[in-house]
């Protein structure tokens, strides 16, 4: 018997060692541990997460639309809460999806320096690394604009920012960095990305140097660093500057804009709760609609009249028709407006006027393009902000951040008002409700500090 057992044990040892190769087989051929550069590129090209699902919480609270009471009643509690500035309302998905994209970026960044290139070369490696850095910085930016206070350079060191996750280790504890540090990381990531990325990319679902510059311009504008904002806007426009001439569009179409239109630098899409921002529900704010002059081509290309007399948005830069999934990426028109505003802020009024003029050519009917001749800085700012509001309404990720930063100055501050069931609810400038609540589960699991409420 003893002999048999020893045979058994020897057999065990032999089989175990011989079989390790046999057991290395992947159970599913479509599964891989990312070891090649093309694996990392494929991760970043996973559109369902990395292109779609950008935060919508700010846009759901933005002032460019309103909803009928009945329609609002049919939304869920959180959607309704965000709409009417309820003190307790959550947009968990804005947090979780952004951090999922950051996890994707971090997986790439953790591996990119060591992976096999195969038929690709170092330039490709740089581009993949740049794209991952861009994705991380770009998502930190969205998070910081939604979940932290407006950026005031004087106080940014003492304010709470966002959780800066810089690697893919899921065991690392989350902590909120100061706001100053959060923005330093954003500009670091985007800056490094700009250095690595190709000037233009093969498709707008991948970032490029131009989109990184645009993102930096947006970031610095939000931070109130107008010099840098203008510089990066210029750098972007050096690469690409052609706007669509709106007079060439067919305004009768359900959406006059096509997917990947000429102005699109980076294609991203947001997703709101329960079709909150869909054209059937989100009616164009009447004051906003009044802002467009008769000859403003945006009036017919962006909006369509509904049977009840209200207006619906149709000019989605995503190319989608009748969709609640608003474009939430980067486009050249924004860069023009960043440049113009920064110039005004820096006192370069002629520069601003010139920029606005070249922009407006493509937006107004021929012969009706307004003349921009600025002598008064306040008026100039008002003009450029008006254009900005008209151009970038229903463009995801912009208006809420604009409200936050403009509220820092009493001259540009605005009190938001919604009428719900005959009652008016207000959101005063710099109200703490401008900072969305961090998901309860995050607070519970990580112990980080929740945003304050009054």
């Amino acid at each position: 018997m003893k002999k048999l057992f020893s045979i058994y044990i020897i057999a065990t040892v032999l089989i175990m060692s011989a079989c390790s190769k046999y057991l290395e087989m992947k159970p599913d051929q479509s599964i891989a541990v990312p070891t090649k550069l093309k694996d990392l590129q494929a991760i970043l090209d996973y559109e369902l997460y990395n292109i779609r699902g950008y935060p919508a919480g700010g846009d759901m609270g933005a002032d460019y639309y309103y909803m009928d009471d009945n329609d609002l009643e049919a939304r869920n509690v959180d959607a309704r809460g965000i709409y009417q500035y309820a003190p307790i309302a959550y947009r968990d998905i804005d947090w979780t999806d952004s951090y999922k994209r950051i996890f994707y970026a971090n997986v790439v960044l953790d591996e990119v320096d060591g992976v096999l290139l195969e038929e690709l070369n170092e330039t490709h490696r740089q581009a993949v690394k740049g794209a991952a850095l861009f994705q991380r910085g770009w998502n930190f930016l969205h998070l910081a604009q939604l979940f932290a206070s407006a950026y005031d350079p004087n106080t940014a060191d003492g304010e709470m920012g966002v959780v800066l996750r810089l690697n893919s280790d899921i065991n690392e504890r989350s902590e909120r960095a100061p706001l100053y540090e959060s923005f330093a990381q954003i500009t670091r990531d985007l800056g490094a990305a700009a250095a690595l990325l190709p000037a233009e990319n093969i498709t707008p679902t991948r970032p490029s140097k131009a989109s990184a510059y645009a993102a930096l311009a947006r970031t610095y504008l939000y931070m109130g660093d107008f010099e840098q904002a203008k510089n990066y806007a210029d750098s972007c426009l050096d690469i690409r500057s052609t706007l669509i001439d709106y007079s060439t569009l067919d305004s009768m179409r359900a959406n006059p804009f096509e997917l990947f239109n000429e102005e699109v630098l980076l294609h991203n899409i947001l997703v709101a709760n329960g079709s909150m921002l869909s054209p059937n529900l989100a009616k164009v704010d009447t004051v906003l609609y009044q802002l467009y002059s008769e000859h403003d081509l945006r009036k017919v290309n962006f909006y369509t009249r509904q049977t009840d007399g209200s207006y619906a948005f149709k000019g989605n830069y995503s190319g989608d028709v009748n969709s609640s999934l608003l474009f939430s990426g980067l486009a050249l028109d924004e860069v023009y407006l960043i440049k113009a505003e920064s110039a005004v802020r820096l006192g370069l009024l002629d520069d601003a006027a010139a920029t606005l003029s070249s922009f407006a050519k493509s937006r107004y009917r021929l012969g009706y393009v307004p003349e921009f001749n600025f002598s008064d800085a306040t008026l100039a700012l008002q003009t450029v902000l008006n254009e900005r509001q008209k151009e970038l309404a229903f463009r995801g990720g912009i208006r809420w951040a604009d409200l936050k930063r403009l509220n820092l100055s009493p001259t540009t501050a605005k009190t938001l008002k919604r009428t719900v069931n005959g009652e008016i609810v207000e959101l005063e400038p710099n109200d703490r409700r401008y900072n969305l609540l961090i998901p309860v589960e995050v607070i519970r699991q990580s112990g980080i500090q929740q945003n304050l409420r009054d």
Binding site: I43, D92, Y104
Partner: protein
Amino acid sequence: MKYLYLMLIYCCLQLDVFARVPPVQGYVLVGSSGDPLRDVTVSTCDGNLLAVTDDEGSFRLLIDGRDTLCLQFKLLGFETEQIKVRLPLEERLRINMQERISALEEVEVSTGYQTVPKERATGSFEFVDEKLFNRQISPDVISRLDGIAPSVLFDRRGGATQSFQIRGLSTITSAISRPLIVVDNFPYEGDINNINPNNIASVTLLKDAAAASIWGAAAGNGVLVITTKKGGFNRALNFSFNANTTMIEKPNLFYQPQVNSATFIETERFLFEQGYYNGTIGNTSTWPVLTPVVELLDKSRNGLVDQELLETELTKLGGYDVRNDLSNHLYRTGINQQYSLSTSGGSERFNFMLFGGYDKIQETAVGDQNSRYSFRSQNNFRPTTNLEIQAGVTYTANSSINNSLGTIRLGPSGTLYPYAQLLDNEGRHALIEQNYRRAYVDTAGTGKLLDWYYRPLDEMYLADNTTKLQDVVLNFGTKYNIIKDFTAELKYQYERQITVNNQLYDEKSFYTRDLINRFTQVNGLDVERPIPLGGILDKTNTDLRAHALRGQLAYQYNLENKHELSLLMGGEIRDTRRSLDGNRYFGYDGDLLTTQRVNYTIRYPIYDNLAPPMLIFTNERFSQQDDRFISLYFNGSYTFISRYTLSASLRRDASNVFGVATNNKWKPLWSAGAAWQLSEEPFYHWDAVPALKLRLTYGYSGNVNNAVAALTTIAYQSAPSNLSQLPNALIQNPPNPSLRWEQVGQVNAALDFTIKNNRVAGSLDYFKKYASDLLTAVPVDPTVGYNNVTMNSAALNTEGLDLMVNTINFEGVFQWQTQLMYSFNKTVVKDYLLEVRNPSSHVGNGGSLIPIVGKSAYNVVSYRFMGLDRENGDPVFLVNGQPSTNYGEMAQSIIMDDLVFHGSALPQHFGALRNTFTYKNWSLSANITFRMDYFFRRNTVNYGTYFDGEPAHTDFYEKWQQPGDESFTHVPAMIYPNDSSRDQFYTHGDIIAERGDHIRLQDVNLSYQFRSLAKLNSLQLQLYARNLPIIWRANKQALDPDFLEFGAPLNISLGLQMNF
């Protein structure tokens, strides 16, 4: 066929070649009747097998060089005989064997590795013999087990038919919750429906750890061992023919009570007046479907139809019920036909079995049918007394056609209105709105587009969806008796299953016409069609390839029945690869076998901007999965003086669970058991209970889930990314280095007994299962990128009882036997880390696990209904201890105590009582099954889905209409606009949950046995009926809790079985 003849000639030759010395010849008879007795094993008194009697009861032995011989004759159900003879013999021996009247099953059960006599086993086995298995008639193996095997519970939640459990659930992951199915020696990797039930000799269930743990990491959910028929040495040539036909009642579309068409139209009218359809009517960009009534009302509003005509039309429509048309044109009586012929026989050195079967299934859905050809050959060759070689082949060809229409919808989501007609007044196939509004389709394209109408009955004849499956299993084995008590065995099996699915969308089908039209661009006279005319063919190939190899060494030692030792050890390697590829072909012409190219990279505008520009969908798919296993196992048992048995088994498994270091993949699992034949003790004098045996086992088995990995893994998507057409990959899971297999520990204590002169025999098993390390999602800080991560974290405890009693009530010309089976099992959550923040998310129908520690795992949970509000007929629910109608806030504010936990959605007590009466040649057997202590949710009014066009439940007529109604109804008032959360609460209120308990006359089998009819050995005719009426049920709605959709369809079968 040629092969068969050769083989037969070969065996005949064999018989004579070896007949050199005068053989020992004899025959065995039944003592009471004098009938010849077949299948008696003839061996020497010290246990060496010599022969088996044939159909005439005769045997023939070749013995040389001996003067005396001690022979032993053994057959289950008979007293064993021993005789001593002097050689050479003068005449043929005549042996009379006495029947033993006993209700005790004396069988050898197969574990897939070895066969063990049940009375020597410590573990819990359940044995279903051929006779019992064939008592049921069905084309598949699994459904024949329903109601005849204790502890097997068919899980009918969600209308499943083949889903079953052995002793409850031991995992949370439904993909790995099926018991392991072993056919002969190896796990069956192909489709279980390939197996022809007419070729099955027995089915054994391995229930406890001692029985199942030999299967190690795959045995956590129990094991089902299917043994196919085989030939035997020294058997006369035998043919067996089997034919049966089953008729299956067509589904009763009227089973679910729904409001009549006139009421439905009345509601549509009400909604129209409220402006409910205005948005849809006003949508001139995508032109969504409007029902004919809404179109009429709209025309009337616009003055295009006068009032009188409107009323006449509406009254006419109100008289139709589409269920009549559906029932007449889409359904029919199902017919299953089964034919099989088998032959077997054997000489001293060779035996064979050949089986051929043909099955044809005409499904109740018109357009669906299935046919299966099965062929099986199994040969054993014994060139010398200590070597046996076995080889076999099984071939299955299955062809199924799935052309039935399924549920007719108005588009991707819309439900068919109840007043639709499938035939128009002239008897032609009628149009039904599909995807777009009729008024739009009438004018779209101004003749430039293809016909854009949808005619359901046309579609049924245009459909061409066929699946052809071919499965081959080759097996080969040798068994060598090395020295006296040692046997070495080697077994190999190869399986290949190829499935080809062709789904052809005919050029004339709506699918194709619609797709072509959507992509068509009309510019003046120019018509451009990016999708060419012609059919669209989706082709999918799946390929399964499995190898299994096993080497095994067995040692049997028996010292004068004092010490019996049986040891078994071996190793096994299995490799299964499943691959799939699929593609789509446009412009397919089935006559010329040509296709046409399309451009997949251009985003084409959609006709009339019905949708944003789109790419043409390629439907290209590839996948490949590999499962690899290596296992080493040991199994031993020792019995002392036939009274005390100890058993142990040990198994180590390794698999290619992705990303785990090889060493960690090796998982040891073990079991130990003891049995005590108490009634054999000298001090035992309890005459009422002549046999009593106690068993106790403990051990572990596991569950494997190769879908979870330990390193960061990415999954390439088989389609390029939607927008940019780039290869793309999803990160499947973050790293999980501590990944382990799920583990199921089980303790089993049992009692086997016979009482009243063996007239009553039975067993009682008590078990407790501890399933731990179950893979489930665990919440993590979502900031890491995941809300939860799958880890070995949960645990379930199951406790239960299996009782089985066989009795022989009458013996003689009139016989009456009874079998009672009763099982109880209850699964409770022991550990679950994923906490649910919001108590109202527990509310449900028990389809998924309720993660509350201490609660029954699959629980039906409801909101507590407090009656209707007397002012407005709103349903009132308990929220935070208070009655409330604030549905918007309710879901957030509900606390645990507000909820009603009804109980398990799976029956916790179940079983069957089977009585068999035999009088002369007649035999009648009726099986009454019961399923107790569980709950289900019935249907009721859901105003939201009703407004969306789904006919409401007849509870609608009971709705609250004015104050005072609340005293006799609980159906809420209809309100406009509807509040979907109010529906959600009401339909999940505790008053809508019902007890599922019921007793059913599951089936009846009446058979007549012709004896010795001309040249036939036997001929049996069978009449079998299944799904007979429910005898008793707890619910007052007269619902069948197990067949909620259409009720249980009656099956009636007629069968014939011949042996010659």
